[in-house]
Symmetry: C2
Amino acid sequence: MNNCISEKMFALTQKNSAVREMFEEGRRLAAIHGAENVYDFSLGNPYFPAPDRVKTAIVEVLEQDEPSLVHGYMPNAGFPDVREALAKSLNHRFDTDFTGGNIIMTAGAAGGLNVALKTLINPDDEVIVLAPFFLEYGNYVSNYGGKLVVVPAHSEDFQPNADEIAKFVTEKTKAIIINSPNNPTGVIYSEDTIKKIAAMLNEMQEKYNHPIFLISDEPYRELAYDGAKVPWLTHYYKNTIVGYSWSKSLSLPGERIGYLVIPSELHDFSLVFDAAGIANRILGFVNAPSLMQRAVAKCLEESTDIASYDANRKLLYNGLQAAGFDCAYPQGAFYMWLKTPCDDKEFVKMAKKYNILVVSGSSFACSGYVRIAYCVGTKTIEGALSGFAALAAELGLRPRD
Amino acid sequence: MNNCISEKMFALTQKNSAVREMFEEGRRLAAIHGAENVYDFSLGNPYFPAPDRVKTAIVEVLEQDEPSLVHGYMPNAGFPDVREALAKSLNHRFDTDFTGGNIIMTAGAAGGLNVALKTLINPDDEVIVLAPFFLEYGNYVSNYGGKLVVVPAHSEDFQPNADEIAKFVTEKTKAIIINSPNNPTGVIYSEDTIKKIAAMLNEMQEKYNHPIFLISDEPYRELAYDGAKVPWLTHYYKNTIVGYSWSKSLSLPGERIGYLVIPSELHDFSLVFDAAGIANRILGFVNAPSLMQRAVAKCLEESTDIASYDANRKLLYNGLQAAGFDCAYPQGAFYMWLKTPCDDKEFVKMAKKYNILVVSGSSFACSGYVRIAYCVGTKTIEGALSGFAALAAELGLRPRD
């Protein structure tokens, strides 16, 4: 018998093996050298645990609220009181005037992006992404028959250039996904960058006489260092949908809890908001996990251990610099974007000899770089630095003072 | 500007208003008559709360496990130890030999069905459902471009007939979704029914030379009364995928926690299992909520208050019988399927005059009936019985002794 699974999914099972190889390699190395001697910088899995307040908040919810409320159905968009509290917190932080009626609680940012794309996309609509980018966006767009349009990386500092993006906008452009602080580069898009993108999109909306939605994927929003500001996009562009997750900011990646902000000034707001609620339901999410909705509402002022990520950032950056590597000093997120002096896939292989696991830039549609996720224990960085130095020497780089 | 949201989603926003009307009507009536005088049998939202063990299990997990484990990423299929514990529990209950490698933890049954359909369906593949059915199946199938094929209701007792189903199987049939104990009828498909469906499907697989998957949606599995047995389908048909949710059995509908069982003997097992894990990821679920995964693993022997649902069942059934209505005595789930002596939509309207909210059979693709969800407080049933009696009289029915 043949003709078994979905052709799209079959193709993905064949592609997926590259990622699995990385996992397997990590396990293989750990078995040989001991887990403590393998330096795994491949995953964006936060090392620093959720703040204590998350635990006390969950227990409070269980103690104070009725189980039928805590674990029960609510509107597909989420608990009204949770959404109100969140809107208030956003308003306070970003000088906005949202209500709960602008918020849809989602299963993390991945759930939120899928809801947004399901809501907006007709088959063959185009969605623009800016390389380097989280390749999963391609799967999300493909889920709804959309066509991913990749704007190649076009600047050394990885600040997107609106004029470059404009070349890729067509009659079929329905949305653009941006991500700042950025995975994998650690770059924060500046206010100037955002203003220019907004102006360009407004122009293109006029030209093609239909809305172009800016979908902002913001799981790293609070991970900004040295007082760097992350512009709040609804101030700059009317047709913005913000997707957020507490995966990184509260170290809750397994809980699948986040939200979408859909501002009232968005084109066809009511229609989009209603459709997003229905999309949340019919995609099978139904609603964001209920207990975690109620718990995060009590943690809106909490934050992860940003100082420790910052310490990691400095330690790793200084070590890589000293070894002779080139990489931009990241302003946000927890990724270092290192320029490889050789082919990036070759670099990944060479690094493995020093028990160092990193991800090739090709896995973010941008070769010539690797991503080093420093959301690890400080010891992992300390342990890896001599390996990085040896790798630099092997590649003929000269150490810096 | 025009051309805003997805055409499919636009159509759903227009259809959805019927359901919303029901909600609004409930709220309107509650505002006039007081919530305690409105008898809302429209929703499958469990009235009886989660067992206490759920709360202590959650607290135990928070006390005993590292936050990075509890709230962290794990394989997309779920925590290996949770899946092993679950497999063991299934093996014990159903005399099977699953391992964790047969289990994918999902965001409830809705999440699981979407994962299964995403895994299997190519555009234009046909998926068979048996009326009356949960209309959401149509949206799930449509999510992946599949074509829903509805087998009309064909027997008074709502036991499906394999020969009737066979008439709807074609070269394009990829799967059939069944649901027992059934929403909305409360019927449990008998072993004889299952055996005949399995034989028919085996014959059709031979005929068309490709697998036809039986997707079993089982959120009501444990809600079986009078010792009724719910056949475990993997014993009867090789290409069965079981979808489960703790929404009803532990009153956790808001938590979105359930699983898929994909047996090793399934056609192309490894491929299907791998693809399902990827589907779970790319649909944006990523994984089932992590804390709840760990909590339910401690509650595998727990059960909701089945005795109270059973008491509700008897109270409502006897009341409706005495009033003169015809309805089958349900063996499972928490729904009564009442035969309406008039048009079912008309019946729904008339019932509202008595502050009774029920759902028309047309909402399950089977007119001439209404669904009465008795997952309510016993007082709601007691309060509604005089209204039901008055409605019966208005419809010219004779009370029974």
